[in-house]
């Protein structure tokens, strides 16, 4: 637990120094939200359109912000230090916690901006928070595992994105359904979508440490 917390702190310090993860992610989130707002400025977007655009933007922002987590370690030649640091699970969970925190910040920033720019409003705040938070954490776990697999391959972050986007496309369906419901679209059994998101995220969390240990230590 303490080792994982050390990794979280180290990630935060490195990110503040290099501004590659959060800094790039914020810029991408803002500019993509502005692009969507510009594209939809001439029509009144429905809840389903806003939900769909928001989740598509969050998915691509996650690739930009989180997919470099292990690739940056390889580039900075600090990956071997991490390998000898200790337990693989501590490294994995430290990275996942930091990536989840980054993604939650970016997800809410981006969703808020899209809502403001496309004149949407939240009807069910609890579902809005639950769907975005669970979806962002799921994206963070999936991308962390994909990043560890692509770290030593040619192609780096691009390859991690190519692997992660199809793997995480499932998030879009329940994510959009739950977000639509939270924006006031009457959908039957919308909480089932949040449960599906949490279930998918939990499955990735359960298998993630094993996949990470196998890929990262090779």
């Amino acid at each position: 637990m303490r080792d994982a917390w050390e990794i979280v702190k180290k990630e935060f310090v490195c990110d503040m120094r290099s501004r590659t993860g959060l800094g790039t992610g914020v810029l991408f989130a803002v500019s993509s939200a502005v692009s969507l707002g510009l594209a939809g400025s001439k029509f009144e977007a429905s809840a389903s359109v806003i939900a769909g655009l928001t989740w598509a933007a969050v998915l691509f922002t996650s690739v930009v912000a989180v997919s470099r987590t292990f690739i940056a370690e390889e580039e900075a030649k600090t990956a071997d230090l991490l390998r000898v640091f200790g337990r693989m699970s501590a490294v994995f969970w430290g990275k996942v916690v930091y990536a989840s925190a980054v993604m939650i910040c970016l997800g809410f920033l981006q969703a808020g901006l899209v809502l403001v720019l496309l004149s949407g409003s939240v009807a069910d705040p609890l579902m809005f928070i639950a769907s975005l938070a669970s979806g962002c954490c799921t994206l963070a776990v999936g991308l962390t595992v994909c990043s560890s697999m692509a770290a030593r391959a040619g192609g780096g972050a691009g390859l991690a994105g190519v692997m992660a986007i199809p793997l995480l496309l499932f998030v879009l369906a329940p994510g959009i359904a739950a977000l639509r419901a939270s924006l006031g679209d009457p959908l039957p059994n919308a909480w089932a979508s949040v449960v599906a998101l949490v279930g998918f995220g939990s499955a990735l969390c359960a298998a993630g440490p094993y996949a990470f240990a196998a890929a990262w230590k090779s």
């Binding site: 595992v145 697999m149 692509a150 030593r152 391959a153 040619g154 192609g155 390859l159 190519v162 692997m163 986007i165 199809p166 793997l167 496309l169 499932f170 369906a173 329940p174 359904a177 959908l187 039957p188 089932a192 979508s193 599906a196 279930g199 998918f200 499955a203 990735l204 298998a207 993630g208 996949a211 196998a214 890929a215 090779s218």
Partner: protein, 250 residues
């Protein structure tokens, strides 16, 4: 002709005979256009069997990661290849089915969407495999990916169609698995499934045999290059700015 070719010819001839025999049968009930429902013999078996091959790839991937025996890497690769082929077949025939039954090639029906996502997920396997220069590392990482990627399959197959309320597959699913097909249709459907499975397993075994030959060649070539009698020594050659060496000038 060896036994395996006889087996393959029998399979293909049998499958063709089955379809020709059935071409004059009446249309299936439970479909919007019953006469064009026969495409399910091409569409449903690959859609079901690709999941079986992806599951097998995950099992072989886990076995490779735990044992590092090259056979399991070959089995993983062959399973993903055959599974992806079946998945692509299911996607294309699904589009034809959609056009025939629903009037459009693509409807964003949850089942159509899930099979397309599965196809993309397993195509990424090949991108990952080709991105490594080190074969052993490629084998280990892709085996891990094959196992990890299978986590999405139950969600795509069972959860996605239930999360998205609207599906046009309801009627088709009821017709195929809900017992609405008449006995002739059902018999032919299951025989076709067994045929496609037998064809896919044959292709899988051949692919593994081909990969083993490839591996043997690689090992042989590797050993040849490490031959102790080979005493040639590489030495640096100074190059001019235009790329020609001093030896070239001489």
């Amino acid at each position: 002709m060896s036994g395996r070719y006889v087996w393959l010819v029998l399979l293909i001839v049998g499958y063709a005979a089955l379809l020709v025999t059935y071409s004059n049968a009446p249309g299936a009930l439970g479909f919007p256009v019953p006469d064009l429902a026969k495409i399910i013999f091409f569409h449903v078996p690959p859609a079901m069997l690709c999941t079986v091959f992806f599951l097998w790839a995950a099992i072989m991937g886990i076995r490779y990661v735990s044992s590092r025996k090259p056979y399991f890497d070959m089995a993983t690769q062959a399973s993903v290849e055959i599974g992806t082929l079946l998945c692509a077949l299911a996607t294309v025939t699904g589009m034809m089915f959609a056009k025939a039954q629903w009037g459009k090639y693509w409807e964003w029906d949850p089942r159509q969407t899930s099979i397309l996502i599965q196809l993309l997920i397993y195509l990424a396997y090949f991108a990952l495999r080709s991105a490594f220069t080190d074969r052993d590392r490629a084998a280990k990482v892709t085996a891990t990916y094959a196992a990890f990627a299978f986590i999405t399959v139950p969600f795509l197959v069972w959860v996605l169609p239930r999360v998205v309320a609207f599906t046009k597959h309801e009627g088709a699913n009821q017709a195929v698995v809900g017992g609405q097909l008449d006995s002739t249709y059902r018999t032919i459907f299951w025989i076709a499934t067994v045929y496609v499975f037998a064809l896919a397993v044959t292709a899988y075994k051949w692919r593994i045999a081909a990969l083993q030959i490839e591996k043997t060649r690689e090992v042989t070539n590797g050993l040849a290059s490490m031959d102790a009698t080979d005493t040639r020594v590489l030495r640096p050659v100074p190059l001019h700015s235009d790329g020609r060496s001093e030896e070239d000038e001489e």
